[in-house]
Every structure is written in structure tokens, then in C-alpha cells.
């Protein structure tokens, strides 16, 4: 088992209004089987035992499905490995690249205010979801499989969008801090399924209105979001959302309210 010593430059900031800066730490005995978060846990243990304040970072499931653990590692949202969240990034991947210095930063976007150190507030995503990322029917207990027949290709495609874990890497990597990939995945996965179709017009309009109201930037089709997305969600969903949104704005019989 390989162990190495890494120099970490970690963004430290006391709160949303404070001015942050990089602080340098030596991470000793980092072994190749640790996850990136375990490496930080280990460093935090040492900081606590030395009476220093530990590094705050967001995390929950540690199995790549909750979307909490986003951070920027040497300029890559969620680190350098494709389709991998930070918690699933193993240190061997970092060793492979020969990195001895690692710069760790929080997502940077106005709509994601910083909480502390590497942790940001992603509740803007929740509010976009609340604006229309659901279907308003009684769901009750789980229904029988295949009760509503859905073509395999359509179900697969909807699943591609539904894999979005709302981690915010798309916003973090976008040159404009746009939330288009997230919103389009949420609009798209419901809009492609029969249960979601009846509300597709109102859904896309309300969700896009909320996305704009949160202060995210606009999409300029760079594709950085797709490259950073740990779930590999395609920018094709953004094109689909644009189409659906313009169609709904032009053809829907009722209006939706603008959101500020």
C-alpha cells in the first residue's frame, strides 16, 4: 500500500461575509485507498488534536448519490476523475496524476452563498425544485411495476436525466455560473414520462422563472457543465429545456407569475 505526503492549500473562510484565503497544510501518511474526504477527515483529526479549527466541508452519503460533497480540486469540480463525486474519488487517482500540491476550493457562484470554508448553501436548487420539479397527484404507496407501460428507450432516457444528484458541479464549473444543466435535467426527466407530461408547460415555466430569480447566469453553450457532471448528464437536456420553455411560453393558454 502506497502512502504519500501531500501539500494541501485549503480555502478557509469564516462565513458568507468574511474574506477567505488559502491556508497550507501538510497531509502526512495519505494512503492510496483513502477517499478524498477520508484524507480530509484524517487531517481534521490532527487539527482538532492540535487545538486548531477543523476544515468544514459538506458530506452525507459518501457513496456518490447525495450530492453534498462538492468541492473544487485543482480547478476540477469534484476532482480530476470523470463521472466521480469527491467522496468517491480515491487518493490513488490523485497519486496517478503525480500531484504533490492540491488546491481545494468551494463552489464559487453568487447563487451558492458560502457557509464556511468548503461548504456552500445550495438551497437555490431546492427552490427551483419546489417551483415545479414534481407531479401534483397523490402518489400513495408504491405502484405495481409496469402499471403504466413506458417504452424502454424513454424510461432509459428519463433515467439519464433523473440521475442528477443536485450537487451543483454544473454551476461551479460554468463560466457564467448557470444552473441550466441542473434545471434542464429536472425539467426533462419528468417531462419525458407520461406521469409528468400533463404539467410540462407550467413546470418548465415556473422552474426557469425560479432559476433566473436565484441569480444564476445564462447558458452560453460552453459544455463545461457536462464535463464536470459526476452523473454525465448531457447538454442535450439543455437544448430540450430551451425548446420546451419557448414552446410553453408561446403556446400556453394561461400565464405564470414572474418571480423576483
Amino acid at each position: 500500500m502506497e502512502t504519500r505526503t501531500l501539500t494541501l492549500h485549503v480555502w478557509r473562510q469564516n462565513g458568507p461575509t468574511g474574506t477567505g484565503s488559502f491556508k497550507t497544510y501538510e497531509a502526512k501518511d495519505v494512503n492510496e485507498h483513502m477517499s478524498f474526504l477520508e484524507m480530509l477527515d484524517d487531517l481534521n483529526e490532527k487539527l482538532i488534536s492540535r487545538g486548531e479549527e477543523e476544515i468544514t466541508f459538506d458530506h452525507d452519503c459518501r457513496e456518490g448519490i447525495c450530492g453534498a460533497c462538492g468541492m473544487v480540486v485543482n480547478g476540477y469540480a469534484h476532482g480530476p476523475r470523470e463521472r466521480t463525486t469527491t467522496c468517491q474519488l480515491h487518493m490513488r487517482e490523485v497519486f496517478k496524476l503525480g500531484w504533490t500540491e492540491v488546491w481545494i476550493e468551494p463552489w464559487r457562484a453568487k447563487a451558492f452563498p458560502l457557509v464556511k470554508d468548503l461548504m456552500v448553501d445550495r438551497s437555490a436548487f431546492d427552490r427551483i425544485q419546489h417551483a415545479g420539479g414534481y407531479i401534483s397527484v397523490r402518489t400513495g404507496s408504491a405502484r405495481d411495476a409496469n402499471e403504466t407501460p413506458i417504452q424502454k428507450q424513454i424510461a432509459d432516457s428519463a433515467m439519464d436525466a433523473a440521475t442528477c444528484i443536485g450537487c451543483g458541479a454544473c454551476v461551479a464549473s460554468c463560466p457564467n455560473a448557470s444552473a441550466s444543466l441542473f434545471t434542464s435535467a429536472k425539467v426533462g426527466h419528468l417531462g419525458t414520462l407520461p406521469q409528468g407530461v400533463p404539467e410540462r408547460e407550467i413546470r418548465v415555466r415556473n422552474m426557469v422563472a425560479q432559476m433566473d430569480a436565484e441569480g444564476f447566469g445564462s447558458c452560453t453553450n460552453h459544455g463545461e457543465c457536462e464535463a464536470a457532471c459526476p452523473k454525465g448528464i448531457s447538454v442535450d437536456w439543455i437544448a430540450r429545456m430551451n425548446r420546451e420553455f419557448v414552446r410553453a411560453m408561446v403556446t400556453a393558454k394561461d400565464d405564470v407569475d414572474a418571480r423576483d
Binding site: 457562484a109 464549473s173 463560466p175 457536462e226 430540450r240 430551451n242 411560453m249 405564470v256
Partner: protein, 245 residues
């Protein structure tokens, strides 16, 4: 909470759609513009006859001009609105230590440069060959000794200008910028209006690359040919009443 109805043009997607549609109008104009210019390679007479023909279109010419002007204004206004917004979103293409772009290209990242650059280029181009006669009359164009306009001979007005190295250089840089802008803009347009289909997505890139290259090289061919002596000024005299100012 406001109770205004959401309008398309106040949303980011709506503004992008406006940019896409106005961009298409301008691209169609540019295609027509190039096909007209290439008549210079046919003969000075063909070029001048085409210039005179455009003036015979009457009201149709004004409809086309209005469409181009409106598209231009809409395109610039929407771009400025979105630029302002994106700045406020607290972003920036390189806001992390050691950040490397993974997918985007130089053409896409320089849209905010090529856009305003084209604006200045268009102003220069209009001052030169569109309003030049009003600005310089029969005198020296841009103060260049021996370069004066002849209102009956647009062909000579163009090639005499291209014989001046710095005028040619400005045109070459300008249309190269246009090619760069369209390289991203054309592809981006499909994405913005939601024209995507797994079967044809590859074609969208091919079309953007092909058309932007074709337009840039097509326009560049004229000053280059002039500088190399392929398009000499003509001594023929013309009379087209339509071209009278």
C-alpha cells in the same frame, strides 16, 4: 412576490432565443453579401451591375435593411443584458486555482471579445464603403493619397481600398473575427433553439465549422487577391443611374 406575468423576453432562455434568431437573420444576410462580393472575380462590370441591381429593389431593399438593423440591435441588446447578468452571477471562466477548460474552445470563450470587435469592424466597414461617399465625397478616403470614390464604380472603390495594406489588414482581421464568432455562434444557435437530435447532432458542428470557414475564407479571398494583383482596378467607365447619390 410580484404578480406580473412572466414574459419570454425577460428570461435568460428568451434572451438567448432572441440572440439565436437575430443571429440567423444576420448570417443569411452575410451569405448573400458574400455571394454578391464574389462577383468581383467574374468581372468589374458584373460587380457593378449587381450593385446597381440592389438599388432597383426599392421598398424591398428597405425591408431587408430594417430586418438587418433590428436583428443587429436585438442581438447586441440581448448580449449586453446577459453579459451584465453573468457578471453578477459571480462567475468567471477561470475562478479556481489552476483551472483548465475541459470542453469549451477558444471561439466560445472569446465571444465577448469577438462580439464587440465585430461591432467596431462593422462601423469601420459602413464608414468606408456604405457611407464613405457622404463622408469623403470625391476627396481622399481615410486621407489616403490618390484613393477617391467614384459613385458609378463600386468595384474600383473596393479594390483601390484593398490596395492599401492597412485597409486590407483591417478587413482580413474583421472577417476572421466573424468566422471565429460564427464558429461558436452557429453551433450555439442550434442548442439555444433546442434543435437537437442524436441523429443530426454531429451535423450541427459540421455546419458551423463549414459555414464559418467558408464565409471567412470567401471574404478574405477578395483583399488577398487584390493585394496579389488578381483584381486590378478597371479603366472601364460605367453609368448606372441607380447608383447616383
Amino acid at each position: 412576490m410580484s404578480t406580473r406575468a412572466l414574459t419570454l423576453t425577460q428570461t435568460t432562455i428568451g434572451k438567448k432565443a432572441l440572440m439565436a434568431v437575430s443571429g440567423v437573420v444576420m448570417v443569411l444576410f452575410v451569405i448573400g453579401h458574400l455571394s454578391g462580393n464574389l462577383k468581383a472575380f467574374q468581372s468589374p462590370r458584373a460587380f457593378n451591375e449587381y450593385a446597381a441591381f440592389l438599388r432597383t429593389l426599392g421598398p424591398l431593399l428597405w425591408v431587408a435593411r430594417a430586418a438587418i438593423l433590428v436583428s443587429f440591435l436585438v442581438h447586441v441588446k440581448a448580449a449586453m443584458d446577459l453579459w451584465q447578468r453573468n457578471k453578477q452571477a459571480g462567475a468567471g471562466a477561470s475562478r479556481y486555482h489552476g483551472q483548465k477548460k475541459q470542453k469549451t474552445d477558444w471561439a466560445a470563450l472569446s465571444m465577448y471579445l469577438s462580439g464587440p470587435g465585430l461591432l467596431f469592424y462593422i462601423l469601420f466597414h459602413l464608414a468606408h464603403l456604405t457611407f464613405g461617399y457622404y463622408l469623403f465625397g470625391e476627396g481622399n478616403v481615410f486621407g489616403v493619397e490618390g484613393y477617391a470614390f467614384d459613385e458609378m464604380n463600386p468595384y474600383n472603390n473596393m479594390v483601390l481600398g484593398f490596395q492599401v495594406w492597412w485597409i486590407s489588414a483591417l478587413y482580413i482581421v474583421g472577417v476572421a473575427g466573424l468566422g471565429l464568432h460564427l464558429f461558436h455562434g452557429l453551433w450555439s444557435m442550434f442548442q439555444t433553439v433546442g434543435a437537437n437530435h442524436p441523429k443530426y447532432n454531429g451535423l450541427r458542428r459540421d455546419l458551423a465549422v463549414g459555414l464559418s470557414l467558408l464565409l471567412a475564407l470567401g471574404f478574405i479571398s477578395i483583399p488577398v487577391a487584390t493585394l496579389l494583383g488578381g483584381l486590378p482596378p478597371t479603366t472601364e467607365t460605367f453609368y448606372f443611374p441607380e447608383l447616383k447619390h
